[in-house]
Amino acid sequence: MPAIEFRDVSRFYGDVRAVDRVSLSIAPGEFFAMLGPSGSGKTTCLRLVAGFETPDNGTVLLDGKDVTAQPPYERDVNTVFQDYALFPHMSVLENVAYGLRVRGRPRAEQRSRAQEMLELVKLGSMGDRRPAQLSGGQRQRVSLARALINQPRVLLLDEPLGALDLKLREEMQIELRNLQRRLGITFVFVTHDQGEALSMADRVAVFNQGRIEQLDTPRALYTRPATPFVARFVGGANVAEGELAQRLSGSPAAFAVRAENVRVVERGASQNWRAIPFRSLPNLQEAMSCSGTVVDFQYHGATSRWQVKLDSGEMFSASSIEAENASSPSPGAAVTLLWSRTDAVPLVGWAVTEREWRANSAKPNDSRSEPGEA
């Protein structure tokens, strides 16, 4: 029995399809992420689960029950809001106890359970303060505690880490993960940061323009993207489509190659590939190559990244780790990009299977396992 299920759910705002025939199912105890750029429909889907919006079409089910018409206060779901939404005229303890208060629980129980929850998020001594006196990170924990006091089956988090600085964000990522494992309840969180989604979630749904482009484990999303959008948004990969794809692979079907698999060689340099201090390249016949000019070079410490404008006009990027960077072509240099054929991933969401694609490019099939599909 899935914890949350969407069956062909749509939500329109006038002509705009905020959510366009979305179906998904989330298993109990799963840490699920909804990832996508702003306006992609991920937040609307979250609100549909919570009950703040009603779908125009389709059904929303919680634990197998149709809750489409149920108001939010009847659903066994609680939300941590992006702006925390703490009530300023109540103390921290009263905020956390609110869920019990509206259920008519006795005062003593409210106080003790609220205190328990505050200890859980390590704010046990802050009960008497007002939300305005707390820092951003502390407010986030309070809203977490407040949302958990009713012991909901599902916890929804709307871009919970967006307002925190980098260090705090990384700490909270670990804490949320641990919390979820301890409590064993289903977490669904919305984010536009793919790093966050990949590092925290068991499965991720990638949203674009109201539809789910791919729903998969983080690893599969990264190594086996199904569509150009997913390849670019999640992996930051290079995507070859249409003519370029035809020229490079012999088939017009789009494929992706991740930046870290692309090598940059200055044209006119020695044609002896062994002299290149990267991981060893398979022999020339197994490589795809194209030429271009370096437009930008960025040094990120651990890695370096090139932006190369291909002769055919598209922008590709290549990255390498610090240890392999002895000499790097600089902006303006004419270069050749190389990558192994096996590193080219066909975007099978495009109505072509990997087998077909590999066959078309007239190369031996590789024996890697097929990715799981939504």
Binding site: V77, N78, F81, A85, F87, H89
Partner: protein, 282 residues
């Protein structure tokens, strides 16, 4: 007075402002403060006259100062009657307008519906149209319906334009309420009524109080419409208006003016402080 202000402004500009265009010249500052003083002086004059010993003329400077008129005023039963009526009318009009104004504010605050702009226009009309129009309109209606002029007709008139005062205050406060608070409350299990009681009402409270106080002050002081809708018993402003044309006992009129000022001053200041201290924004 006017010409000096005008030349003060011009001279300020002509003599240049040096490095920063945002430093006010002395002329500009004088003009501004002079204007402010001009607005307050007349009222101070009344307070002064309440203590004068002269009883027939408005002569200045006052020949002497005394508290005699205050005592005389307190002895007058007609003043007390008018005061009681004004207070009763104001109290009732305030209560009615609080209820009706809040209902309207709650309805209009977040909803989008056909006719919403029409309602805003309608609410503003009693204040936008001159008091004389409202007054004569109400009188015509009362006479057509063959009702009796008296306490309830005054209350009806006052309530009508006090509603928009409460409405403006409450709706402004409600608009500052983030919708996520309401969603959070419902998400945690509170239904609409509980959300209103625990979340909306506490936030609304100061605005409601402020609006109510302003409505009270407005009703207590109202003369223009009240002259049309009152019956035999005068409210305090009507009593005052009648006295303006009577030559005797002028200083008592001054005392009553001071009383009216004080009674309206206090709620206005309170209302101002209530709305100024924006209490809780996270």
């Amino acid at each position: 007075m006017r010409s000096s202000q005008r030349s003060g402004k011009r001279s300020g500009e002509r003599h240049g402002k040096g490095k920063s265009w945002n430093k006010p010249s002395r002329g500009a500052r004088i003009a501004a403060f002079a204007g402010l003083a001009f607005m307050h002086l007349p009222v101070l004059v009344i307070v002064l006259y309440a203590f004068t010993t002269a009883d027939r003329t408005y002569e200045f400077p006052p020949p002497g100062l005394t508290l005699h008129w205050f005592a005389a005023a307190f002895a007058r039963s007609d003043i007390w009657a008018a005061l009681r009526l004004s207070l009763a009318v104001a109290a009732l009009a305030t209560v009615f307008s609080i209820v009706l104004g809040s209902l309207t504010a709650l309805a209009m605050w977040r909803s989008r519906f056909w006719g919403k702009e029409g309602i805003t226009f309608l609410l503003v009309l009693p204040i936008a149209l001159p008091g004389i129009v409202t007054g004569i309109a109400l009188l015509t209606a009362i006479k057509t319906a063959r009702l009796e002029l008296g306490f309830w007709t005054i209350v009806a008139g006052h309530t009508t334009f006090c509603i928009v005062i409460v409405y403006n205050n409450v709706v402004a406060r409600l608009r500052r309420l983030p919708p996520s608070w309401l969603e959070a409350s419902m998400d945690l299990g509170a239904d609409g009524w509980q959300t209103f009681r625990y979340i909306v009402l506490p936030q609304m409270a100061t605005a409601l109080l402020a609006g109510g106080m302003l409505a009270f002050a407005l009703s207590f002081d109202e003369i223009i419409v009240t002259l049309f809708t009152a019956g035999h018993d005068p409210t305090l402003p009507i009593w005052f208006f009648n006295e303006l044309f009577r030559p005797r006992e002028r200083p008592i009129t001054n005392v009553v003016a001071v009383i009216v000022m004080v009674v309206t001053f206090i709620p206005i200041l309170l209302a101002y402080y209530l709305t100024r201290s924006a209490p809780d924004e996270t």
